[in-house]
Every structure is written in structure tokens, then in C-alpha cells.
């Protein structure tokens, strides 16, 4: 079985820099971006299993990227990682189909386990 693909988007480089190795260690194939347009371009061409995105960014913002991802790949799971200030927007994202939102700062382990869980759900034969 090939590795699940995760695409990360946060305009602050440290988020991707730290998450990418941690998720790769857990067996995921990971791409990380700080520019949301690049993520839209990648999603236009390729399917990912999980999108992890911040909300507040230069246009297109996280919500718009999420909408695009959902249109393009209805099965994609979206996780919002956001600062405390944008919790309200995050709730809106949940209504539009994000699986979960996690407020920054968060434990790396928590996000990794969440991704492991939601990608396990999409397996053909889920582990018992």
C-alpha cells in the first residue's frame, strides 16, 4: 500500500518545517507550503488524502483553499490549524466540511494521531 499523502499550508515556515519531518516519520508522504496559491496549484493537479491548513493568510486564504480542495477532491480530509483569534472562522470551516480544527499552539503528537485516525477511516479494510 502506498503512503498517504498530506499537504501542509501555513504562511509561517516553522509550522511546516517542524510538522513535515514528524509526519514523514509516521509514514506519510508530505508536501509543505507557505504560499497558498502554490497549494491550489498542487491540488489542481494532484490528489492528496489530507490537507492541513492555517486560516489567516494572504489570498487565497485557508477557507478558500479548503473550498477549492473539497470541490476538486470531495474525499479529501481537511484539518484547520489556527490561532486562538480565529476560532470563530474555524467553526465556520467545520460547518463547511473540515474534519477538525486544532488551536495553535498544539502538540505535534495530537495532530499526527489525528491524521493517523482519519486516514485509517478511509482504508478499504479498516483495522479492527
Amino acid at each position: 500500500m502506498s503512503a498517504k499523502k498530506v499537504i501542509l499550508l501555513d504562511d509561517e515556515p516553522i509550522v511546516g518545517e517542524r510538522l513535515q519531518p514528524a509526519l514523514e516519520k509516521a509514514g506519510f508522504q508530505v508536501e509543505s507550503y507557505t504560499d497558498s496559491q502554490q497549494v491550489v496549484d498542487r491540488l489542481a493537479r494532484e490528489r492528496f488524502d489530507v490537507l492541513v491548513t492555517d486560516l489567516k493568510m494572504r489570498k487565497p486564504d485557508g477557507l478558500e483553499v479548503m473550498r477549492f480542495a473539497k470541490r476538486q477532491w470531495p474525499g479529501i480530509k481537511v484539518i484547520i490549524i489556527t490561532g486562538f483569534a480565529t476560532v470563530e472562522t474555524a467553526t465556520e470551516a467545520m460547518r463547511e466540511g473540515a474534519v477538525e480544527f486544532i488551536a495553535k499552539p498544539f502538540k505535534i503528537r495530537a495532530l499526527r494521531d489525528l491524521i493517523l485516525r482519519i486516514t485509517a477511516d478511509t482504508e478499504q479494510s479498516p483495522p479492527s
Binding site: 509561517e12 516553522i14 509550522v15 490561532g83
Partner: protein, 852 residues
């Protein structure tokens, strides 16, 4: 007339009832903000464990919320005291300015002396001494590695120098300049420094320090080295600043100017810009070191950058001073030496070393020809190579990443460390792919407890006994402890890793572990039973696993990680911010230094504000107006403590109009548990102490002025309370007790501060009692400081159940120690009383449990 009588015999004027309510409200605000600030600081400290993802936005929010809350505290205090502490407003503004400056990438440095001695500095002073010199001082101090004698001209001196040249003003005015103009301006600033006359306050200091250094070290000349502030850990700065060798005291000012001017070199300006630092706002500390007349010198890379996976260090060595080896202008011998003892040579290529740079008796350096018969002779012997490898690996273990080290071999054949910095080696693949062979390295612990600081450490297991002292700790051991006692904190710098049975990631030990970047796992419940003393283990605090054996792959991988999390800009920034926020310098309210003007951090400000607010409430004239049964009560218990209770809300439950309150009517959790301990069976000894003549004479000749004064000296014992809060000033005979506490179920904001001083006997006995208190309190995991008969103990971030137990213990302790100094006739008796107290404590705990 006692305060009590004053309070209740004179009915208050009608207008004061509103005044009382307002004052209590202000006090309450101070307490509440205090708690939330402390919780926020603790939370920020925990971010440094590496377990969390946080970003710059978090840091901005942190700075903003802290400033907001601390300002609210100061405002409430000023309202409470009629504006007595306006000074604090300015101090808070200054701290806020500094934090914001840091966030904007500008360099700020604390005020400091012009000249600092190298042996006094460590990495905690990186903001003053620059990263390079701070690290050199630290390695010499902690690991005992020989370094040249030296001093540091502080970054604060540089700031003053630049201020006087008008450069700070120019920089501030031109912050937004576009790239090309910026470079041009930087060039002009550089020239301005080079052309400037060094001000007298600075030149005097420079010359005096230089002459003294030469006199004391016997060296002929000096090395003047850059040690920039604010770029800690940024290895790419290496070699970009100016360094000057062979400097005489007469030329010290020129050298200083040239090193400072290199702050504005085009390369540095460009680099700062690229890394989100303000391009012109660097500050330079400058190291002045005795020149080592080196027979040979060179560099060590603790991993071979060309082949990092191999098991070898790379050593470059040449004759004479190291400058030619470092800058590559001369060919040098290259040795590959095994990382494993006995550090055999696994490869070498000898260069023909025809020239060398040497120091000259006339201060300076000179390039001279090497005698032909020495051209092909290795610059280091196999024994010296092995010694150098051992030294380099110690630095690597301490620094927790691969190192790039400059060294020199002096005329006596002694190896000296000149500089050490992290070596960045590109890993072969981005992702970590190490799979640990579990057959070879069995998993001893996995997923147990909490990671307090990430990282990988390896060494033999060492379990400290009750009586263990710092000297017993083997260097680079894995310290495994059944408790998280603060005693461990002192040992951490020597440890390779720490694993405890209890404790929390927000505790004192965890904070110290993060400060020293020691991989630490706490609260495993079983580590001290599972791990065997002396056995080699590898602690992987990234994955929360402990393996048996030395998992070389894992250790190597960790050293190779492109950049460890601690090196990230956000981590360095948070660390620096916390230095302005978290340390508590004003710990003892009775000390002369306990003043508004001495507040250096936010923590100082809120501690000071709280103490002054308590004093105001206890002493304040407003109190005289308080009406019985409204906010002020008298405790009715069987023991003679005559305690006045000021209720801020929810602290007592008494029918209207009554001014006496029984123990059952106390609803302030911290006061209730403390009183339960104090009035507990057998605690309040009533029989007169059997005082021997020595104790009696001391007591009889003692005047009350000898007793260490409590900060607040009410005529009456006073407790200020609310549901979760207690501030207690209690004088029992000659003993002064101060307790500040917040007690709720959630550990986050819980804390207790206990201060004890005074006594009736001579200082030796009172000191014994202090020792007794210290031993008991440490068993309960308090952080304890004691000096003479003064004991200050703190405990924070513990859950409600534990804190209730701790308060009951303090209550018992206060009762138990009332006359204890009289009984403590010898040091040996201290231990006996500790045991007596602790064995009785077991019973009390059980009783408290069944009550709940």
C-alpha cells in the same frame, strides 16, 4: 490597643463601606491577574519542550496579553495605594518595548557593566556577552575545559558607544530603507565607527582590562574577537565578523572599533535581512582573550561533513596560530579519528606545512618559514589527537549537536578551546528513517509519562540516593529518579538525559531541563524500578522511548538533524522573551532590594505588586473603617492564634451580623486546609519547652529587633482570603510565617509560597530549624531556598489534591516548629525530627483522604 479592638470598637463612617468594597475589588483584580499571568508564563515555558507547534503569531499574542495583564495589575495597585507606584508604569512600558523590539527582530540587551570576566559568564548571559563568548565561558565553567584567559566588553557598552556616535538614531530613522540604499548607509555607518574616537569611559576600561589580562596571563598580546548578540545559534554568521590577533594594549581601541564596525558589513546586513532580523540593529559584545602562543592549532568537526554517516571526527591541524587553518590560506594536516574511544586514527592526509603564523614578543603576529624537517611532520601526535577527540565529543554532548571547534596547543602541550559552535551538516535524506532494531536494543519504556524536553541522550543509568550530592553525579549519566525533587535541577547540566517516576511537564525540573536542553521524560511511574543502575540506555525523548544499549543510529541521526527545534528562530525568540518575563529576582520581601525600582521582569512586577497590595490591605487606614460582619472576621478556634480574616468573597460562610467565624465556617480552601493542619491533634504542643541554659541565655538576651522582620508586621495575625486564595501573615511567638496560595482543582494556576523566619534561640539552632524545614519541604517537592534562619519555599502547578495535602502539612509544620529551635541542640537531631514529622504526616494524609 490591638487592631482588633480598633476595628470593632469604633463603628466606621458611612462613606467607607463603598470604599472597602472598592479596595477589596482592586485587591481581587491583582490576585486574579497575578494568577493568569503566572499560568501564561508557565504555558510559554512548556512550549520550549519541543512537543508543541507554535508560531510568531503566538509570540505576538503572548507579548500583548502579558503586557495587558501586567498593566492591569499595576493600575489596580496604584488605585489601591493612591498612586504610590507610578514608577512601575514606566518599568512595564520598558519591558513591553523590549519584547516588541525582539519580535520585530531588533536587538535589545540588558544593562550591564562595561567589562565582564569570562569565568563569570555562561549561556544565560548570551544577551550581554554575545553567543560566542557566553558559550566559551560556559564550557570552561561547567565542563572545566581549558580556555584562554579573557574578558568580554558587554553588548551594553557597544550600545552606549553607538548611541554616543548617533548611530542608534540614524538606524531608527532609516529602518524602512530599500536594499541598495541600506547597503550604502551601512557602509557609511561602518566608516563612522572606524573614524570615531572611542569615548573615555570605554577606552579607560579597555586599556585597563587589556593590561591586566597580559599581566595575569603572561601572554605577549591579545586576541580581539567578535561575539554578536541576538543571532544565537545562527551558524551562518561564522566568519562574517571581524577578529584581530596579536593586539597590544595600545592598539586595543582600534581593534575594538574594527570588530564593532563589522556589524555593518554588507554581508552581515544582507544576512540579517534574509533572516527576518532588522538589518542594522545588531549589537556586538567583544571578547578580549590572552593570545595563546600556539605550537599548533586548527579545527575539529565532530562529524565529517563529507560523510556524516561515518564514525569519525575530522581534525584539521597546522603549525603555529590557527588563522591559516581556519581561513584555508595554508594547507593543513587532515585526520579522521574514530568517535569511539580510544579514538584511533582511521585516515589522514599530511600537508607540506612550509609556513606558519606565530605571535611575536613585540605584540603582533608574523608569518614565518617552517624548518624543512618539520614540513611533513604531523602537527599532532596520535595521543594528542585522541585527547582532542575526547574533548570535542564532550563539547558535542553538552551542546547536543555536532560541533565546529577551534583549538590551540600551547607551548606546554596543553590543548585549549578557542571557540565552539554548532556544526550544520546536511543530512543524507530529509526524513528520519532510523528504525531501531528492537532485538539488539530492547525497549525498556515506551509511551510512559510526559516529554518535558525533546531530544536524544545516552549514558549509564544513575539513580540518586537520598543523600546524593552534586559530586556524586557521573558526567553524562542518564539520571533516573523516583521523585521530581528540585534537588535534581542542580545536577541537570551534567546529565545526558533525565527520566523520573513523578513530576509534570510544567514543573520546576522540566523548566530547568528545557533551559539546559536535556532530553527529559517525567511522570513515567515506573522508571526507577525498570531501569537498572549502571546499565547503558538511550533515551529517545522525541518518541518517548527508552532503549537498552547505546543506539548509535539514533544518536547520530539526532546530531544530524538539519536543525534541532531549539535552533529555530521562534524558539530562540521565545527563550529570549522569557528571560525578560519569567525570572523572579525579588524573592524575599524583607530584603532591601525588594523595591519597585528593582523590578527587572514581569514576574518581579507582579510579585512586588501583590506584596504591596497585601501590605496595603493589612495596614491600610481603610481597614479601620471596616464594619464587623461585613468583610472582616475573627477566627474562633481552640488554639491561641488570634487570627483576623479579611474576606474578598467566598472565603467564609457566616450568618449576617456575626463577626466571629468557626473553623467549619471557613470556605476558603487554602485557609481551611492550612488550619486543619495547624489545629490537628498533637500539633499544637502546649507543654513549655525544656530549654537548656544556652538556649535560655540566648533567648533572654535577645531583643525583638534581632528577629528577621516579616514584611508585613501587623499588630494582629491576618489572613486575606477568597474561595481559592489565601494571603496569611502569622506571627507565633518569635516566628514569622507568610503564606501565599491559590488552591483550586485545576493544577494550572495553583501555587503556594511559604516564608518562615525568626526564632528564640541563637542563630545556630535557628539555622538547624531552617535545615529541618528545608528537608521536610523538599520531601514535598517544594523549591526551597534558605539563608540563616530564613526559609523560602515554593511549589506550583500541582493538582488540588496534592496542594491540599501540602497546605495541611504547612499548617502542621507551622505548629510543629513553633518551639523546635529550642530542641535542636545538635545537627544530628535535625534528621530525627524530620523523620518524626514525616512519619506523623502519613497518618494525617490518610485522615485527610477519608474526610474528602
Amino acid at each position: 490597643m490591638s487592631l482588633w479592638k480598633k476595628l470593632f470598637s469604633h463603628p466606621p463612617a458611612s462613606e467607607t463601606s463603598e470604599g472597602v468594597r472598592l479596595q477589596l475589588e482592586r485587591f481581587q483584580q491583582i490576585v486574579q491577574h497575578n494568577n493568569s499571568i503566572l499560568a501564561r508564563i508557565a504555558d510559554a515555558g512548556e512550549q520550549l519542550s519541543g512537543e508543541y507547534i507554535f508560531d510568531t503569531q503566538y509570540l505576538r499574542d503572548l507579548a500583548e496579553k502579558l503586557a495587558q495583564d501586567v498593566r492591569a495589575v499595576v493600575q489596580a495597585l496604584n488605585e489601591l495605594t493612591g498612586g504610590r507606584y507610578q514608577e512601575l508604569v514606566e518599568i512595564v512600558s520598558d519591558l513591553d518595548y523590549r519584547l516588541r523590539a525582539m519580535l520585530e527582530g531588533r536587538t535589545v540587551t540588558p544593562a550591564a557593566a562595561v567589562i565582564l570576566r569570562l569565568e563569570e559568564i555562561g549561556t544565560e548571559l548570551a544577551g550581554v556577552a554575545g553567543e560566542k563568548m557566553a558559550r566559551l565561558g560556559e564550557l570552561s565553567r561547567v565542563l572545566g575545559i581549558p580556555v584562554p584567559a579573557g574578558v568580554v566588553v558587554s553588548a551594553d557598552a557597544c550600545r552606549r558607544f553607538l548611541d554616543e556616535l548617533g548611530i542608534t538614531t540614524i538606524v531608527t530613522a532609516n529602518r524602512e530603507l530599500p536594499g541598495e540604499q541600506l547597503q550604502q548607509l551601512a557602509g557609511e555607518l561602518q566608516q563612522r565607527i572606524l573614524d570615531a574616537r572611542v569615548p573615555r569611559w570605554l577606552s579607560r576600561n579597555l586599556r585597563r582590562a587589556a593590561r591586566k589580562l597580559l599581566r595575569q596571563s603572561g601572554a605577549h598580546s591579545l586576541a580581539v574577537r567578535s561575539s554578536a548578540v541576538g543571532e544565537d545559534g545562527e551558524v551562518s554568521f561564522a566568519g562574517q565578523y571581524h577578529t584581530e590577533l596579536g593586539v597590544s594594549p595600545g592598539r586595543i581601541e582600534d581593534a575594538y572599533r574594527r570588530v564593532v564596525a563589522s556589524l555593518f558589513s554588507s554581508r552581515v546586513v544582507e544576512y540579517r535581512q534574509r533572516h527576518g532580523l532588522d538589518p542594522l540593529e545588531g549589537l556586538m559584545a567583544v571578547g578580549i582573550l590572552a593570545m595563546v602562543p600556539a605550537r599548533a592549532s586548527g579545527v575539529v568537526y565532530t562529524l565529517d561533513p563529507n560523510s556524516p554517516a561515518s564514525d569519525a571526527l575530522l581534525i584539521g591541524a597546522g603549525w603555529g596560530l590557527g588563522c591559516s587553518v581556519v581561513d584555508g590560506s595554508q594547507s593543513a594536516d587532515r585526520f579522521l579519528v574514530s568517535r569511539r574511544p580510544p579514538h584511533e586514527i582511521v585516515g589522514s592526509s599530511l600537508a607540506s606545512k612550509e609556513f606558519q603564523v606565530v605571535t611575536t614578543p613585540l605584540p603582533g603576529t608574523q608569518r614565518q618559514a617552517v624548518a624543512p624537517e618539520r614540513h611533513q611532520v604531523p602537527a599532532l601526535t596520535p595521543e594528542q589527537l585522541a585527547e582532542l577527540a575526547g574533548l570535542a565529543l564532550r563539547v558535542e554532548r553538552y551542546g547536543r549537536c555536532a560541533q565546529d571547534i577551534e583549538w590551540a596547543l600551547d607551548e606546554q602541550g596543553r590543548l585549549l578551546l578557542l571557540q565552539a559552535r554548532p556544526l550544520r551538516v546536511s543530512p543524507s535524506s530529509a526524513a528520519s528513517t532510523v528504525t531501531v532494531d528492537n532485538e539488539r536494543y530492547p525497549v525498556l519504556l515506551q509511551g510512559r509519562g510526559e516529554v518535558a524536553c525533546r531530544g536524544v541522550g545516552c549514558g549509564p543509568v544513575w539513580i540518586p540516593g537520598e543523600q546524593a550530592s552534586l559530586n556524586d553525579v557521573p558526567e553524562q549519566a542518564v539520571v533516573v529518579s523516583p521523585t521530581a525533587t528540585p534537588r535534581l535541577a542542580a545536577w541537570l547540566p551534567r546529565a545526558a538525559a533525565v527520566v523520573t517516576d513523578v513530576g509534570s511537564a510544567t514543573g520546576h525540573l522540566a523548566a530547568v531541563a528545557r533551559e539546559f536542553r536535556i532530553p527529559t521524560i517525567v511522570d513515567t511511574h515506573v522508571a526507577s524500578r525498570v531501569l537498572v543502575p549502571g546499565e547503558m540506555v538511550t533515551v529517545d525523548a522525541d518518541e518517548n522511548i527508552v532503549y537498552r544499549g547505546e543506539v548509535e543510529e539514533l544518536i547520530k541521526e539526532h546530531l544530524l538533524q538539519e536543525s534541532s527545534f531549539e535552533e529555530k528562530r521562534e524558539f530562540r525568540l521565545l527563550r529570549r522573551m522569557l528571560h525578560q518575563v519569567a525570572p523572579l529576582n525579588l524573592d524575599d520581601p524583607s530584603s532591601r532590594k525588594f523595591s519597585a525600582g528593582n523590578c527587572r521582569t514581569y514576574h518581579d512586577v507582579i510579585r512586588f505588586a501583590h506584596e504591596m497590595a497585601v501590605r496595603e490591605l493589612v495596614r491600610g487606614r481603610w481597614l479601620h473603617a471596616a464594619r464587623a460582619g461585613q468583610s472582616v472576621y475573627r477566627l474562633a478556634v481552640d488554639i491561641p492564634i488570634d487570627l483576623l480574616i479579611i474576606d474578598l468573597g467566598g472565603g467564609v460562610e457566616v450568618p449576617p451580623g456575626r463577626s466571629e467565624v468557626s473553623l467549619e465556617e471557613v470556605t476558603s480552601a487554602p485557609l481551611l486546609f492550612l488550619l486543619r493542619g495547624l489545629v490537628g491533634k498533637g500539633v499544637w504542643a502546649t507543654e513549655p519547652a525544656d530549654m537548656d541554659l544556652g538556649g535560655f541565655m540566648s533567648s533572654a538576651t535577645r531583643t525583638s529587633s534581632l528577629a528577621t522582620p516579616l514584611t508585613v508586621q501587623p499588630e494582629q495575625n491576618v489572613a486575606i482570603v477568597s474561595t481559592h486564595y489565601l494571603s496569611l501573615n502569622l506571627k507565633l511567638g518569635y516566628h514569622y510565617n507568610l503564606v501565599n496560595c491559590r488552591l483550586a482543582d485545576d493544577a494550572g494556576e495553583n501555587f503556594v509560597y511559604f516564608r518562615f523566619a525568626g526564632g528564640v534561640t541563637e542563630l545556630a539552632r535557628r539555622s538547624r530549624r531552617a535545615m529541618f524545614l528545608r528537608r521536610v519541604l523538599e520531601r514535598y517537592d517544594f523549591v526551597v531556598e534558605s539563608k540563616g534562619d530564613l526559609v523560602i519555599a515554593r511549589l506550583k502547578m500541582v493538582d488540588g489534591e496534592r496542594l491540599r495535602g501540602s497546605l495541611e502539612m504547612i499548617g502542621r509544620l507551622v505548629g510543629f516548629t513553633r518551639q523546635l529551635d529550642i530542641y535542636l541542640r545538635s545537627d544530628e537531631l535535625v534528621e530525627a525530627y524530620v523523620e518524626k514529622f514525616l512519619s506523623a504526616a502519613g497518618g494525617t494524609h490518610a485522615a485527610a483522604g477519608t474526610d474528602g
